[in-house]
């Protein structure tokens, strides 16, 4: 018979925001606020060079000390949050949109589209991520925009794959067959019936993917292929600071912590969303 009411009773309610998610939201909005308010809060111009006191340790004047050309690390960390937040969004959205669409179509219509997509998938998967991005950035030249472009070229695949998997199960469900039987147009079915039911885990993944994007951004900044100077970006700050970390640990430490905290925000949110989705599946 259908499941016993016992399970139904004990099954947790679907819509419940976990405390960790609350923390996540606080962190994220905190950073957003900081990013927006950076010009107000920041004690110094993030790009203001002060040759006379370079690498000076944290002090009242410079909370996080100064870097190799005497810029105020604190201010830079603040301003960097703008770029990094942007990076997270801009790095996730395009692959999300493209991947979801492709996954949706190829999963629902199968056939040639699907085959072609799968081949591209095999190819991109077998391609070492860093090498591909490295090569692409190499061709297009460094810079955030190209980095995001490269990221999109690589990143859409995982979204497409995830979406496709979802669609493959959903398209077999009876309410889709019913929709067909009721003569709805494919567009209507995809948009109104398939997508809403398939998107959940994809969104959850997207949020946690933001972390990876930021890390990748930082990593490529680290390899000198990310944001271009003097723009402040955490990865770049760490990379540039590396040469001086022996005397000036603060240059690397604080951007790193900042990155981690933002990452935590996204990760926790993604984790929470994922849980909610899983609950939804079991309830």
């Amino acid at each position: 018979m259908a499941e016993s009411p016992v399970l139904a009773q004990t099954a947790p309610s679907i819509r419940r925001i976990t405390p960790t998610m609350l923390v996540a939201l606080v962190v994220l909005f905190g950073w957003l606020a900081l990013a927006l308010a950076a010009p107000v809060i920041a004690p110094c111009d993030p790009d203001a060079i002060d040759i006379m006191n370079m690498l000076s340790p944290p002090s009242a004047a410079h909370l996080f000390g100064t870097d190799q050309v005497g810029r105020d690390v604190f201010s830079r960390v603040l301003f960097a949050s703008r770029i990094d937040l942007l990076l997270c969004v801009a790095g996730v959205l395009p692959p999300l949109l493209i991947g979801t669409t492709i996954g949706l179509l190829s999963g629902y219509f199968r056939g040639v589209v699907d085959n072609v997509f799968m081949r591209i998938y095999d190819l991109t998967v077998a391609f070492p991520f860093f090498v591909l991005v490295l090569a692409i950035v190499g061709v297009l030249g460094p810079g955030l925009l190209n980095f995001i472009l490269a990221l999109t070229l690589v990143g859409w695949v995982s979204y497409a794959r995830l979406m496709r998997a979802q669609v493959l199960t959903i398209r077999e469900s009876e309410y889709i067959q019913a929709a067909k039987c009721l003569g709805y147009s494919p567009a209507a079915i995809l948009g109104h019936h398939v997508l809403p039911n398939a998107i959940g885990p994809v969104i959850a993944y997207a949020v946690s993917d933001a972390v990876l994007v930021m890390l990748a951004g930082a990593s490529f900044g680290f390899l000198g292929l990310g944001a271009q100077p003097p723009a402040a970006e955490w990865g770049v700050m760490i990379a540039d600071g590396q040469a001086f970390v022996q005397q000036a640990w603060w240059i690397c430490l604080f951007p790193g912590l900042a990155a981690i905290s933002l990452g935590l925000g996204f990760a926790l949110l993604g984790d929470g969303l994922g849980q909610i989705h899983r609950r939804g599946a079991t309830a």
Partner: protein, 550 residues
């Protein structure tokens, strides 16, 4: 059926068993006894607490569950036992088999090992010895070439064989008691009959006492000496099977009995003057590719040269077990899968050739209700939205009026307006099927295909849905194609019936005839395996019981 001689101490004595999950009591003061060698049936619909009861006996409930009362096996209170003693008893003194054998076997281990495991565990015998006995057991439960089968994995077994394996594992240690929780629900009727036969035989041969939990009074009546009827966690009635069935004291029991398929005919207007042919299926064949891979050329025939005809206004039934191709037919008619041969004609025009406007028109004329109550509704839409959608999508009305029409439809399928903004998972199975009906009727179709629409529902609910179906058919002069595995239901509902087996029609004719005097051996097997109540004097229709739609 061995009647227990009185005076003997009961094998199992359940007293005032109450099981609660948090605040919610799933089982309330249930008491019953079981004599050695006796087969006790526990009947009830989903939510009646019958499964919880027997799981409580085995102490298999999750940590959240609290069980009070006493469950004494040979005078030993199981509820008081510690983990170790419990493990010593489970599988040794009490064996258990479950509703869905597929999910209850460990997919990663060979059948032989799984059958042997309890014996190795409890009887302290070696692995080899265990396997030998396992093979013997498999043979006993009627599995051919047991040596070979012992080496295969669950997924290589059919449903029936899986259940047999479960039974073998359960009886390996010659337990005193076997608890069977819906052992045949997931199986085809013919298989069900054989499994029940096996259980009976076990009881006869070894005097193994059993508790048989089932939603199907027929099944229980078939093999039990006594029966306990449960509802909402309480025992409403218990006693010898004949008394309960022929002289039910409780109204609910009566309802159960009369809801039994085949108990009453839905006096479907068997208009003998055949209306003109509406849908004609000509030599239809459907093949699916089977087994992918480089050289996966072989394909499997779901339908093989099927001819059938449906006339306006009549109710045609299609009977067959899983894999007989009956659902494939339905899906082909509504163009969900494309035939490899033959044709489907609605009013003479080939359905397969339809496109554009013609197709839309066809969609309005032919609609379908699906099997799975929950899966057939988009979980994100409220039921009102779901029912309204076809109306405005087909431009019959704008969204607002569509909503009003939807309300009317929901009204018509007897769903209280209070539910209209609920989502499927907040409804019961029966209610979902009503929504499904309403949605299908939204386009005012001529031909309605109902594919196993009641197979996932309780009997009483099933009865209600069938009543509704018949009423709607009358009101809207629907032509009905009713697909089911249950010959009883079909015969009580339809004028004509086609019997499907392995993609072919093996028998067809007027329902009553096919049921009473089947010609084809397969049909005979089907009919024979119908677990039916001893037909005694018909019980007067009882009022006032569960009138609300479940």
């Amino acid at each position: 059926m061995s009647r227990p001689e009185t005076g003997k101490p009961p094998l199992l004595d359940v007293k005032d068993l109450t099981v609660s999950f948090g605040g919610f009591a799933a089982v309330k003061n249930v008491s019953f006894t079981l004599q050695p060698g006796e087969i006790l049936g526990i009947v009830g619909e989903s939510g009646s607490g019958k499964s919880v009861t027997c799981r409580a006996v085995m102490r298999l409930l999750t940590g959240a569950a609290r069980a009070q009362g006493t469950v004494a096996l040979d005078g030993q209170d199981l509820l008081a036992l510690g983990e170790e003693e419990l493990c010593a008893i489970r599988g040794r003194d009490i064996g258990m088999i479950f509703q869905n054998p597929a999910s209850h076997l460990n997919p990663l281990r060979r059948i032989g090992q799984q059958v042997a495991a309890p014996m190795i565990r409890h009887l302290g015998i070696g692995k080899r010895e265990g396997l030998l006995r396992a093979v013997k057991l498999l043979e006993d439960v009627g599995i051919h070439e047991p040596e070979k089968r012992a080496r295969s994995y669950p997924h290589e077994f059919s449903g029936g064989m899986k259940q047999r394996a479960m039974i073998a594992a359960a009886i390996g240690c010659q337990p005193k008691l076997l608890i069977a929780d819906e052992p045949t629900t997931a199986l085809d009727v013919t298989v069900q009959a054989r499994i029940l036969e096996l259980l009976k035989e076990l009881n006869r041969k070894t005097g193994l006492a059993m508790i048989l939990i089932s939603h199907d009074l027929g099944v229980v009546a078939d093999i039990c000496s006594r029966v306990v009827v449960m509802r909402n966690g309480e025992v409403v009635e218990q006693g010898p099977i004949d008394d309960v069935i022929n002289r039910p004291r409780h109204a609910y029991t009566r309802l159960l009995i009369e809801s039994q398929p085949g108990r009453k005919s839905y006096g479907s207007v068997g208009s003998p003057d055949r209306g003109k042919s509406l849908l004609r299926v000509e030599n239809l064949s459907v093949t699916f590719p089977a087994g992918q891979g480089l050289l996966g050329g072989n394909s499997f025939r779901a339908l093989d040269g099927v001819d059938l005809e449906i006339n306006t206004g009549e109710t045609v039934g299609i009977v067959g077990e899983s894999g007989s191709g009956k659902s494939t037919l339905a899906r082909s008619i509504i163009r969900l899968n494309t035939p490899s041969g033959g044709a489907i004609r609605l009013d003479g025009q080939d359905v397969g050739a339809l496109a554009g406007e013609a197709l839309t028109a066809f969609r309005r004329r032919v609609q379908m209700v699906f099997q799975n109550p929950y899966d057939s509704l988009n979980p994100r839409l409220t039921i009102a939205e779901a029912v309204a959608e076809p109306i405005w999508r087909h431009g019959i009305a704008d969204r607002k009026t569509a909503r009003e029409e939807a309300d009317a439809l929901l009204e018509m399928v007897e769903l209280p307006g209070s539910l209209r903004d609920r989502k499927p998972q907040q409804l019961s199975g029966g209610q979902c099927q009503r929504v499904g009906l309403a949605r299908a009727l939204a386009l005012k179709p001529q031909l309605l295909i109902a594919d196993e629409i009641t197979s996932a529902l309780d009997v009483t609910t099933q009865a209600q849905i069938l009543e509704l179906l018949v009423r709607l058919q009358r009101q809207r002069s629907l032509t009905l194609l009713y697909i089911s595995h249950d010959l009883a239901v079909v015969s009580s509902l339809c004028q004509r019936v086609y019997v499907f087996k392995a993609g072919r029609i093996v028998e067809q004719g007027v329902a009553q005839q096919v049921l009473s005097t089947p010609r084809d051996p397969y049909t005979q097997a089907l009919v024979g395996s119908l677990a039916r109540l001893p037909t005694t004097q018909t019980i007067p229709l009882s009022q006032g019981v569960a009138t609300h739609a479940t």
